[in-house]
């Protein structure tokens, strides 16, 4: 069928960009591989131990996050109450909440001098312990973030169950367990392998949470070990070997995940569920799951805000270094979000104009570079590449951080913009062609007004990822070039907890404002234009 508008310029631009991104990634990998051949220098890294620890941590995170995500999605799908949309929106924000902020919040709640232990000392006269450090702390932080992410994806699947299927089930008087087994489970099951793979990768490549809560070498992961090897031990060969191990494992997981369905983009379809309530016991269980999950997710974030505002807010705000770091974070965040938008739009517009499966795959592949080459590894590659080119790392740092952050946000940006652009091309392709609209007319009159909210969401995702990034800046940051997360990390290392609390609160506020505000702002701008 010739129903897709004929857009050779879009496709050519998209192919050029995809090849350029692929070329950049290959150059980065080549720099890493070239450094790995330097076998004369001895290395002390214990790869089997690190691989074992990282896999155990990521595996347990995946299992717990999927379990929590399914329970929470099931509860949210059934319950109707005032403020439900706010709660769902809150869990949606998990994907952009900086890991550092959650880790800091956990320390504030469960740490040695945290809320729980202080309360225990006051009531029982002794502390309850310190589960925020070590493997338990890492798992807790990961499950808070990834469980909420899983819940949001799975809730979209449950909400998309056709009303007719629910009507049939209701008329057959299915029990709660029958309903779950026959209707809910089949809807969620297809997403679980892909979702599990993504959560495994997110946990496998997690950096700030392990750095803050790891509590020593016993719980160190590959990503943190790479950072330690470069910045603390100056063991470049060790870092390169770790990076290759990391890339190898990630590539295997991606290959396995690629066989399953796409889970990042939520399916279309609203919450059209007819009113079909479960029994009293099931409803009590759903309320319990919802209450525990909300408290588990909100409490650490609330503690960050309270500690920040009551702690070092005033002290931090008068420091020139804070405003310097704040400005740097804003500029880096805005620039990488803008770059991500340009890259994602160019790739998605070309992809939506292509009908061939091979071409669509080619245009989709480079955007997933991040999943194969995680933040610290990508930074290491850029670091080596810049050194090989004879450039000064401190001069190239701002550009590298912007480009690296854009590449890291690209898979999520493509997953946000790609499906609606594909849908427009397929649903309206005949009309657009028959009217003979130019590519610019198609974008300006049809695509842009309809994409307003998606563009805002994509910009918010990219901005928030960049705002909370520690993996890239950790390798390139200097005293003169630091962002808020790096400043917070340094404040923690210098035992300036109040300063760290204030910065964490500012990061959280910035993230919430961007995530809530940008989609609305762009929807309004696009509609005003349309």
């Amino acid at each position: 069928m010739l129903t897709l508008p004929h857009r050779p310029v879009r496709i050519a631009l998209s192919i050029t960009l995809a090849l350029a991104i692929a070329g950049l990634i290959i150059a980065v990998l080549w720099a890493i591989l070239a450094a790995a051949t330097d076998t004369a220098t001895p290395s002390r890294v214990d790869i089997p131990h690190l691989l074992r620890m990282t896999s155990i941590q990521a595996g347990l995170t995946t299992i717990f996050s999927l379990a929590v995500g399914m329970a929470l999605a099931w509860s949210l799908n059934r319950l109707r109450f005032p403020g439900r949309d706010l709660v769902v929106g809150l869990f949606s924000a998990a994907i952009v909440t900086p890991g550092m902020v959650v880790a800091f919040g956990l320390l504030s709640i469960w740490g040695r001098n945290g809320w729980i232990n202080e309360a225990s000392k006051a009531i029982f006269g002794f502390p309850l312990g310190n589960p925020a450090f070590g493997l338990s702390g890492i798992l807790l932080a990961h499950v808070i973030l990834d469980g909420a992410f899983a819940a949001r994806i799975l809730l979209a699947r449950l909400d998309a169950i056709p009303a007719s299927r629910l009507k049939v089930g209701q008329s057959l008087a299915l029990s709660t367990s029958q309903r779950f087994r026959l209707i809910d489970w089949p809807a969620m099951r297809t997403s679980l392998p892909g979702l599990g793979a993504i959560i495994f990768l997110l946990a496998f490549t997690s950096f700030p949470i392990v750095l803050l809560l790891g509590g020593g070498p016993a719980n160190q992961t590959l990503e943190v070990a790479i950072y330690s090897a470069v910045r603390l031990d100056f063991d470049l060969v060790g870092a390169v070997r770790l990076a290759l191990t990391q890339i190898g494992v990630c590539a295997i997981v991606i290959l396995l995940a690629s066989a399953s369905t796409n889970v990042i983009a939520p399916p279309h379809g609203g919450s059209t569920t007819p009113l079909w309530r479960d029994g009293a016991f099931a409803r009590a269980l759903q309320w319990l799951v919802l209450a525990l999950s909300t408290i588990g997710f909100v409490l650490p974030l609330l503690s960050v805000l309270i500690d920040g505002v009551t702690g070092g807010f005033g002290r931090v705000l008068v420091q020139p270094t804070f405003w310097w770091a704040f400005g740097t974070s804003m500029i880096i965040g805005s620039a990488s979000a803008a770059l991500t938008l340009v890259l994602a739009l160019a790739l998605c517009l070309g992809r939506s104009a292509s009908s061939g499966k091979a071409l669509r795959t080619l245009l989709g592949t480079p955007s997933f570079a991040y999943l194969a080459v995680p933040a610290v590894v990508l930074s290491l590659g850029f670091f080596l590449l810049i050194r090989n080119l004879g450039l000064a790392p401190e001069r190239a740092a701002p550009f590298v951080v912007i480009v690296a952050n854009s590449l890291l946000a690209l898979p999520f940006a493509v997953a946000t913009l790609g499906p609606p652009l594909d849908a427009i091309a397929h649903a309206r392709g005949k009309l657009i062609r028959s009217l003979g609209l130019s590519g610019w007319q198609q974008f300006w009159s049809v695509e842009y007004p309809l994409l307003g909210k998606d563009i805002g969401l994509m910009l918010a995702l990219a901005f928030c990822f960049s705002l909370g990034d520690l993996g890239v800046i950790a390798l390139f940051g200097t005293q003169d070039f630091q962002t808020l997360p790096l400043m917070m990390f340094r404040a923690l290392g210098a035992y300036r907890g109040n300063d760290a609390a204030a910065i964490a609160a500012i990061l959280l506020i910035g993230t919430i404002l961007a995530f809530v505000g940008l989609p609305r702002l762009f929807e309004r701008i696009a509609h005003a234009r349309g």
Partner: protein, 212 residues
């Protein structure tokens, strides 16, 4: 005159093969009817250019259209629904019918003119999503009028309308066809629409058109 001669087409993986021949005169409505699955949509897509025939010719006043892309064919479409972009105003939807490079003042004048002709001036700034089914079809016809392509393809354009609106839109189509000398082709299985509009009729059966 629009003339199709042995437009042969088969969908990949399907055994049915189509062989279409018909003629349509300017200023007349030519109706093509047939049961569901008989190939009406295939014929529609072949004339609009969304499908390429394996062989045959489709010519307008002697000019072969077969190798022309859908966007360059002298054809306008009016479908049962989704003719408009819901997020745009009636005026902006109509404006899409203007040829590129039309001067702004000229564009404004022509848009206002067709909207007035179609009785839509009061709705010019209203979003398409808020218009009724009949108003939407009127806006789509206003755009068609602005484009003024010699062939108008109608695919069940009255199906979603109530009886009164249906009658008024049918009258509008017939009047415009005569006034603009369009070669209007109506693809439909509604006998009353065909009876009210068509000067020439074809029946689709077993993948072949026959005069009715």
């Amino acid at each position: 005159m629009l003339e199709a001669e042995h437009l042969v087409f088969a969908h990949p993986g399907q055994s049915t093969s189509y062989d279409f021949s018909f003629t349509a005169e300017p200023g007349e409505v030519t109706a093509i009817s047939g049961p569901s699955g008989s190939g009406k949509s295939t014929l529609f897509d072949l004339v609009a250019g969304f499908l390429k025939p394996e062989s045959g010719t489709l010519a307008l006043d002697g000019q072969n259209l077969i190798h022309m892309l859908p966007e360059t064919r002298p054809v306008s479409l009016l479908l049962q629904a989704d003719n408009l972009f819901d997020h745009l105003s009636a005026e902006d939807n109509v404006a899409l019918g203007l040829s590129r490079g039309t001067h702004k003042a000229e564009a404004r004048r022509r848009i206002a003119d067709v909207l007035r002709q179609m009785g839509l001036s009061a709705l010019a700034h209203q979003r398409a999503a808020t218009l009724s089914g009949g108003q939407k079809q009127r806006v789509a016809l206003a755009r068609t009028l602005l484009r003024d392509r010699p062939v108008l393809l109608l695919d069940e354009p009255f199906s979603a309308l109530d009886d009164d609106t249906r009658r008024s839109i049918r009258t509008l189509v017939r009047d415009l066809t005569v006034r603009q000398c369009w070669h209007t082709i109506l693809v439909s299985h509604h006998a009353d629409d065909i009876a009210a509009l068509a000067s020439r009729r074809y029946q689709l059966k077993d993948g072949v058109l026959a005069s009715a």
